[in-house]
């Protein structure tokens, strides 16, 4: 089981709660990726996000920088909002990072975006949400699957390409392209039908309830004739590891509270509720916040339902102190990963 982290960037807060610069959030994220590589974390995902509190707007740039500064870690967008970007540019940026990495360490995760700020930012109409995603995913896959640099494609959401060169090619021929979904059944079926690996973002409820979706994904893939190593599942959840469960809860809660106050303002939720937090932070909830034993046991338990090959965690939002992020990453790599391996081997 691969163990990883992901982040949308986290603009640090001063002790009085006022935000520091977004640039500092980006620098902290870069430092965290480099640190994750040093301690042996398997994967780091950078999620395209466009808010003052979460400023990781440009996964391609971050991954290219990280590719040059790391040796082993797999780097991916988590996700790229392809609906409102040009798949040609997304591919070129990540293929460039792949070349810098030496090859084989860069992945793309294609998402639709669960919030809509990229639509006005890049001049798209939300009414085209479904069509934009379907066509741009098709273009991205067409480029990736092409045996040569020369690409031809036509659709309705951007001008056609006729024998145009899209460079560079990935070192190993193709980049892994994952389809990201938050649990819509049709998205699982779509990933299976397309033969893409699927990445579940599970931000609430009880993650093991995704089991039928993973089954739907695998059955859809089989029905469409897709087998082999591309048919696999990864899981992204909230999670923070600390030496003790109590420390983990107390480190994670303030940022969670801040995030929910901000999201509540945008989406009309009421005030964050500590009881809800505590429920989610205990098995079988969706927040993997605990000591290494607790988190490892919950990953292994979920594996019994989803059979996932990678589980990666977001800890840094709402102004999580950088040292807490770095300690969590270190514990994930050095304490949680071997425990998960032991638990799965014993099954």
């Amino acid at each position: 089981m691969e163990i990883g982290a992901y982040s949308f960037g986290d603009t640090p807060l001063d002790p009085d709660g006022s935000p520091r610069s977004t640039a500092e959030g980006i620098r902290n994220l870069f430092d965290a990726i480099v640190a994750a590589d040093k301690v042996g974390l398997d994967y780091f995902g950078i999620g395209e996000h466009h808010t003052v509190s979460m400023p990781a707007s440009s996964p391609g740039a971050m991954i290219a920088a990280a590719a040059a500064a790391t040796d082993r870690i797999i780097l991916g967008s988590a996700a790229s909002i392809i609906s409102t970007d040009d798949p040609v540019r997304v591919f070129q940026q990540l293929a460039t990072a792949d070349a810098i990495s030496g090859g084989g360490r860069v992945e793309i995760t294609a998402g639709r975006g669960s919030s809509v700020e990229t639509f006005p930012l890049f001049g798209y109409d939300l009414a085209d949400y479904d069509r934009l995603y379907a066509e741009k995913l098709d273009l991205l896959m067409t480029i990736n699957d092409s045996p040569t640099e020369s690409i031809s494609w036509s659709g309705t959401v951007r001008p056609a390409l006729t024998d145009l060169a899209v460079v560079p090619r990935p070192v190993r021929g193709r980049l892994p392209i994952w389809l990201a979904t938050g649990g819509n059944a049709a998205s699982s079926a779509r990933a299976g039908k397309l033969g893409l690996p699927v990445s579940y973002g599970i931000i609430g409820g009880e993650p093991h309830r995704f089991a039928p979706l993973a089954e739907l994904y695998r059955r859809s893939a089989t029905q469409a004739g897709h087998t082999g190593e591309d048919i696999k599942v990864s899981v992204a959840t909230f999670g923070l590891v600390a030496p003790t469960k109590n420390e983990a809860l107390e480190r994670f809660y303030p940022g969670w509270h801040n995030l929910n106050v901000e999201m509540g303002r945008l989406r009309g939720w009421g005030a964050p509720d500590r009881r809800q937090f505590d429920t989610q932070a205990a098995a079988p909830g969706a927040y993997y916040v605990g000591d290494p034993d607790d988190v490892a046991e919950r990953i292994a338990h979920l594996h019994g339902y989803l059979g996932h090959m990678r589980h990666f965690f977001q800890a840094d939002f709402g102004g999580l102190p950088q040292e807490h992020l770095l300690e969590s990453i270190s514990l994930l790599a050095t304490e949680v990963k071997p425990r998960v391996a032991r638990l799965l081997a014993a099954k």
């Binding site: 009414a127 819509n184 049709a186 609430g204 409820g205 509540g264 989406r267 939720w269």
Partner: protein, 212 residues
């Protein structure tokens, strides 16, 4: 008497409501936006026990229809198919999700009143909109359980009584807020929306009871 519940929409909300209805003992008919075959595998695996149909077949065969399509797509449902039906509107106008929809931003009324204008010959009840789809499945409790949560509903009284019994069988205490206009009190931005309340707490939030 409601025995068959129809659900328009097989997304996250529709699927969660469908599983909840099956668990409560109802027959469930469900549709996506196209032919039944498009959602057959999804229904077989994710909502086992439900029957996949077209939207028109769902509307014709169900005793009560639950609207669970994205708000920006509600006009894709043919209002003629829902004439005379009891319809639950689970939808919310969420600008961060739906973008700006002029018909809701320029109309001060609750979203369900705008929707009710479109489904003019249906009996529309607003409910199931203020609970998260995850919570619907995890928070259901038998009647009398002290941890049982309340669900507010708004619509004409006679229709609401039918819907209240459905909510009760789903595992929640129905709290009748009044006619459709009263549903504004549990839309996004209200203290009720997205929170967890017992029936007594809901009644206080809705101004139906005094805080002790």
């Amino acid at each position: 008497m409601v025995t068959t519940i129809g659900i328009l929409g097989a997304g996250r909300v529709g699927s969660a409501v469908a599983r909840t209805a099956l668990k409560a003992g109802y027959a469930v008919h469900i549709s996506g936006s196209g032919p039944a075959a498009d959602i057959q595998l999804i229904v077989d695996i994710v909502i086992p026990g439900a029957v996949a149909m077209t939207a028109a077949e769902v509307a014709a065969s169900a005793d009560l229809v639950i609207l669970a399509v994205p708000m920006h797509k509600f006009r894709t449902v043919d209002p003629g198919t829902l004439a005379g039906k009891i319809v639950i509107d689970t939808m919310n106008y969420w600008q961060p999700i739906d973008g700006t929809l002029d018909e809701f931003t320029t109309d001060a009324r609750s979203s369900s009143e705008v929707v009710a204008d479109y489904f003019a010959s249906a009996h529309l009840v607003k409910t199931l909109n203020h609970i998260g789809y995850h919570d619907l499945e995890t928070d259901a409790r038998p009647a009398g359980d002290p941890q049982r949560h309340g669900l507010a509903l708004a619509g004409e009284a006679e229709t609401a009584a039918v819907v209240a019994e459905v909510l009760n069988r789903f595992g929640f205490d129905p709290v009748y807020a009044g006619p459709l206009v009263a549903g504004a009190a549990f839309e996004p931005g209200s203290p009720i929306f997205g929170g967890r309340h017992t029936a007594d707490e809901l009644a206080i939030e809705l101004g139906l009871a005094e805080a002790a």
